[in-house]
């Protein structure tokens, strides 16, 4: 746990104005220069790490789940729902299996009136539905539950998301070990997150404490992988730093003293 925190504490190298200007020029050339403020997580450690200071809107993001019962993706679902809930507007949720429990999504702030569900018969039917949703400018986000996602298909979705400004969240589901390996293959998504349930903080009374996740940023365009221990989405879809970790004394100064 300490390792994660230490890694996240190291800030990315400070960009000089010339480099920032060059980055802007490249962005303009690539055509993704529409001014879309990213969606901050509201956690300094996470936002500082992400290029632009938050989750890029109008881009493709992947979420996978690790841990026991990972094939049901209970945590990854709530993570995606929390992001969708904090965006403004209706959400399209494309699915194949009927195991989603809508009351659970509402607990992350995603009101039932905001979500339109569409069922694709098979895995390969879902991607066209996601793309159709990404072409509709009025949507806040499209959530797709897919297993296979080729590089070509992900590039297509990324371009569609860039053009319309709709954020795409792909929940990578798997049911067999072979399919699990498929979800690890590279894609054109801007970020890939892995959510694993972590043991919750011990509560003073018997019962369950606040839910915690180990959130891994496995891949990030223009950023480095990182990982954090965070509290799961609250009723407005926001993540939080666990209280016990936030209140720890700053170990960096001590470490420096020791190494000196």
């Amino acid at each position: 746990m300490t390792r994660h925190l230490l890694r996240s504490a190291s800030s990315p190298p400070a960009a000089s104005p010339a480099v920032a200007e060059l980055r802007r020029q490249i962005e303009r050339l690539e055509g993704s220069a529409q001014v879309r403020p990213p969606l901050p997580f509201g956690i300094a450690a996470v936002d500082r790490h992400l290029p632009g200071g938050g989750l890029a809107r109008g881009a493709l993001h992947e979420v996978v789940e690790a841990g026991p019962a990972a094939e049901f993706a209970g945590s990854a679902t709530l993570f995606a729902a929390g992001i969708a809930a904090r965006l403004k507007g209706p959400v399209l949720w494309c699915l194949t299996r009927r195991d989603l429990f809508a009351p659970g999504l509402a607990l992350a702030g995603l009101a039932p009136g905001r979500v339109i569900y569409v069922e694709g018969g098979r895995d390969r039917d879902v991607l066209p539905l996601v793309e159709e949703g990404l072409r509709e400018r009025g949507l806040a986000a499209v959530v797709g539950e897919v297993t296979r996602l080729s590089l070509l298909a992900s590039r297509r979705l990324q371009l569609a998301a860039e053009a319309s400004g709709v954020t795409a969240l792909l929940l990578r589901r798997w049911w067999t070990v072979a399919e699990k390996d498929v979800t690890a293959l590279p894609s054109a998504a801007v970020t890939r997150w892995r959510i694993a349930p972590a043991a919750s903080e011990p509560a003073p009374a018997p019962g369950l404490g606040r839910v915690q996740w180990q959130v891994d940023l496995m891949r990030c365009r223009g950023g480095a992988p990182c990982s954090w221990i965070l509290e799961a989405c609250d009723e407005t879809g926001r993540l939080a730093v666990p209280a016990s970790l936030a209140r720890r004394p700053d170990s960096a100064a001590l470490r420096r003293a020791v190494t000196r």
Binding site: G74, S75, T77, G104, P112, I116, P206, L208
Partner: protein, 470 residues
């Protein structure tokens, strides 16, 4: 006999011939009628249905002339100018019309005159017939003043003054008469005499809007077919703009050279007349059509339409314009065309605690209600349907499990929360049984499960895994 109620007063609105023979007539109090005829059958009058039936009758009468106007409550005007010769003469036309109405069980009287007002008066007060050209004035003059379509109160006043016949009224000096009875009476008098023009409001028959294109040379390429669909849709939408209607269902009929045909149908979630959008809905389906040796005719039919008011349909995607609620109908249509409309839906909260019934599918564009699920109850994000049996070990009979075995994997429980008791709802059709005790469990590996015992431990309740928390 039918009855209409005005305030507390119930009067006869219409009486059947049998009732009329017993001396009952419209306008009579129901109490009086029931006193006269004890075994009277009384129904409530339905003016809307009467009006609809009258419109239907008028539509039928279009067979006699293109200009037909319903005249509520009980008349239909048919402008037979230039149509009588088709039946030989006006007499033949009238005979044919009355004969056919009689066959349908409609009691009717008909009159032919120079002016609608004159025909109205003659049909009702002289039993119908044909008034020769230019004789309207004499024909109407002998009729009672009620034949002028004026209000009963004015008729009563006229009778008090000794004006019984239309002729008497016409003979009165014009200016004092207008001053005494009002301009309306003068207008009705002129209309009945044929001095004033009376416009009819003709019924426009509703036809199914369609657009057709036939090819001199059969086409077979997909791109060409798609182009034609776009053109047909544009043409159809132009027709719909004139009618103020939008499409809810479209049928595309493709006729092949070998006389075989293909038929595609699409539906929209909301009335629309956006041609590119409608054409796009067909695009995917057209790929399944086998053109054979070529298609020689294509027909696009708006088989179901709804009124659609003129609104700005183009202001979409303009930067800076943020509508409070975004129009999702196009997206829903496109998705519906891909996977079927029943697979595009929203989930609406249901006031129940039984997990399987907490959400109900509603059409994607159904109005959004304020209903939500209870916010203080922890609920999983994924539900196993049906629940899967687990083997659980508890320290004491009514304790939460300390160990569960699910799909042959052991999960050691470190924390547990519960029980939350959910009782079966007999009003929703549940069989009467013991209630379920739900527990939230957290395992040593961080998994969070929702398990329940289907009966108290003392009664041999078994454990089931029902969902997964975040």
């Amino acid at each position: 006999m039918t009855v209409s109620a005005v305030g507390s007063r119930r009067t006869i609105a219409a009486a059947c011939p049998a009732a009329q023979r017993l001396g009952l007539h419209a306008g009579m109090a129901v109490a009086q009628a029931q006193a006269m005829v004890p075994k009277l059958h009384v129904w409530d009058a339905t003016p809307e249905e009467d009006a609809a039936a009258l419109r239907e009758l008028a539509r039928w009468a279009i067979g006699y002339s293109p200009v037909v106007a319903p005249d509520p409550p009980d008349g239909v005007w048919i402008d037979i100018a230039g149509c009588a010769h088709l039946h030989g003469s006006e007499e033949a036309l009238l005979e044919h019309l009355l004969g056919r109405l009689n066959e349908q069980g409609v009691t009717a009287r008909a009159a032919v005159a120079d002016a609608p007002g004159a025909a109205w008066a003659v049909a009702r007060f002289r039993g119908g017939g044909i008034i020769p050209v230019g004789r309207s004035v004499e024909a109407v003059a002998v009729l009672p003043v009620a034949a002028l379509r004026i209000s009963p109160s004015i008729v009563a006043v006229m009778q008090k003054l000794g004006v019984e016949r239309v002729g008497q009224l016409a003979a009165m000096p014009r200016a004092p008469m207008v001053r005494r009875f009002g301009k309306d009476v003068a207008l009705r008098l002129d209309q009945a005499m044929g001095h004033a023009f009376e416009p009819l409001n003709p019924l426009i028959p509703e036809e199914t809007p369609l657009s057709t294109v036939a090819f001199a040379e059969p086409i077979g390429r997909l791109k060409a077919i798609k182009n034609v669909v776009h053109r047909l849709a544009e043409d159809l939408c132009k027709q719909l703009v004139k009618r103020g209607q939008g499409v809810r269902r479209l049928d595309l009929i493709l006729r092949r050279v070998d006389q075989k045909g293909a038929h595609l149908r699409i539906g929209t979630a909301k009335a629309t007349r956006d041609a590119p959008h409608l054409a796009k809905l067909f695009d995917e389906r057209l790929e399944t059509v086998d053109p054979g040796f070529g298609i020689e005719e294509m027909v696009l039919v708006a088989s179901k339409t709804e009124p659609l008011s003129e609104t700005q349909t183009e202001a979409r995607g303009i930067a800076g314009v943020s509508a409070p609620d975004v129009d999702m109908s196009r997206l829903v249509d496109r998705l519906g065309a891909k996977v079927g409309a029943h697979r595009v839906y929203r989930l609406e909260p249901v006031q129940t605690l039984v997990p399987e019934r907490m959400a109900r599918k509603v059409p994607a564009l159904a109005p959004v209600t304020d209903a939500t699920w209870p916010e203080n109850l922890p609920r999983p994000t994924r539900l196993l349907d049906p629940p899967e049996p687990v083997v659980a070990t508890a320290l004491l009979p009514d304790h939460p499990p300390a160990l569960i075995v699910w799909r042959k994997v052991r999960h050691k429980v470190t924390h547990a929360d519960g029980p939350e008791r959910i009782a079966p709802e007999w009003w929703a059709g549940d069989t009467d049984g013991p209630s379920r005790d739900y527990y939230r469990l957290e395992t040593d590996k961080g998994g969070r499960f929702w398990v329940f015992r289907d009966a108290p431990a003392a009664e041999g309740g078994r454990w089931w895994l029902h969902g997964f928390f975040a």
